[in-house]
């Protein structure tokens, strides 16, 4: 998250709402470990990354739907090994779980 701090500060100063997604768990093969993070502003500006580029697009969708009040903060799973997993997966075959929340604390 260290690499996000400057942008998070900038958005906070500007009063821009932001969603934060952090990797909390990786099963099997996965490119980034727990703590990898990305942030998405209400305007759709994106910083950081949580995988090798496999799921970032889907994370932006989830982040924006959180900011629009269409989903609650919570866990999002990407991968093939989980029945509830999203259609988007990691090409390496692993499963990652992200926690998505609004950065307002």
């Amino acid at each position: 998250m260290k690499e996000l701090l400057d942008d998070l500060d900038r958005w906070r100063t500007a009063g821009t709402r932001v969603a934060l997604a952090r990797v909390v768990d990786v099963e099997g093969s996965g490119p980034r470990g727990p703590g990898a993070a990305m942030a998405v502003s209400l305007e759709g500006e994106v910083v950081g990354s949580v995988s090798g580029g496999c799921v970032e697009g889907a994370v932006v969708t989830e982040a924006l739907s959180l900011l629009h009040g269409e989903r609650k903060p919570g866990i999002v799973t990407f991968g093939y090994s989980d029945d509830e997993a999203f259609a988007v997966g990691l090409t390496c075959g692993g499963t990652i779980r992200l926690f998505i929340e609004e950065f307002n604390w």
Binding site: L5, L8, D9, G74, G94, E101, W105
Partner: protein, 267 residues
């Protein structure tokens, strides 16, 4: 000052801090900020849960680990206590200070190794007793350059070295090597590499024996000659070989080609 302000202040300054977040169960999105030696800030929803997570968070931080832990709503942790109660899952994220690399010997290889170590996120200390070689101008990439013999550095802060840290001894000079090896062996440092040809290595073993270092357990800790067998020749290639060995040591992998193996790449 908000919780995230305190967090980012600590993360920016490189001081240890952990953030606990409820990710599932009662109180999703609650946070607790954990700083060694200070009271925790924020709350996960129950004072007993806060107390237990604070304790566990400090341990995770010490190990430089991040991960999910499961509790009862009042911080219960044993399987009997958790049975039949709704659980709370907490993600503890640790920001530990950067690992350290201490390089003894201010030689050509030192500059290249210090550069690669910086890429990998180490805080780099370069140490040599010779004032004309150990200068900040020759090693601008190092966080600190010390003109001294090894022993004072180990006496002063050897206890700050832990499993994530590395000591690389590049001097080739027994006057300097032996005290550096002795100093490093007395710490909990995870990696000790010593540079030199196989002949130098054999001679060094004799000198170490004279200094009383004979136990297999101690000698097993020495990566000597230092580095992986990549056929490295230049200082830069050698630096890659050393850092690759440090990574392989930490992960316990064999450092063979991925192509020759099978099974998951990130187990």
């Amino acid at each position: 000052m908000t919780l995230s302000d305190r967090l980012s202040e600590r993360v920016r300054s490189g001081d240890p801090v952990a953030l606990a977040t409820v990710i599932e169960g009662e109180g999703v999105g609650n946070h607790l900020l954990i700083i060694p030696g200070e009271d925790s800030d924020g709350s996960l929803g129950h004072p007993d849960l806060d107390r237990v997570v604070h304790r566990d968070g400090l341990a995770e931080l010490e190990a430089g680990r991040s991960g999910i832990r499961t509790y009862g709503p009042e911080g219960q942790t044993t399987p009997e206590d958790l049975e039949g109660t709704p659980t709370v899952r907490v993600f503890v994220e640790s920001w530990a200070p950067p690992p350290q690399m201490w390089i003894f010997g201010a030689v050509d290889f030192t500059a290249a190794l210090a550069r690669v170590a910086k890429i990998l996120g180490y805080r780099v200390l370069v140490c040599d007793a010779r004032e004309i070689f150990a200068t900040g101008r020759r090693f601008p990439m190092a966080d600190e350059v010390r003109v001294t013999w090894p022993s004072p550095v180990f006496d002063e802060r050897g206890e700050t070295l832990g499993p994530r840290d590395a000591v690389c001894i590049l001097t080739h000079d027994p006057k300097f090597d032996v005290p550096a090896v002795q100093g490093a062996l007395a710490t909990r440092v995870g990696y000790i590499g010593v540079m030199g040809s196989r002949t130098t290595h054999e001679r060094r073993l004799e000198r170490l024996a004279e200094a009383g270092i004979t136990s297999n357990e101690e000698l097993e800790r020495l990566m000597s000659p230092i580095g992986l067998d990549l056929g490295a020749r230049t200082p830069e290639e050698t630096a890659i070989s050393i850092c690759a060995e440090i990574i392989a040591n930490r992960t316990g992998r064999t450092a063979s080609r991925l192509r020759s193996g099978s099974g998951p790449i990130h187990p």
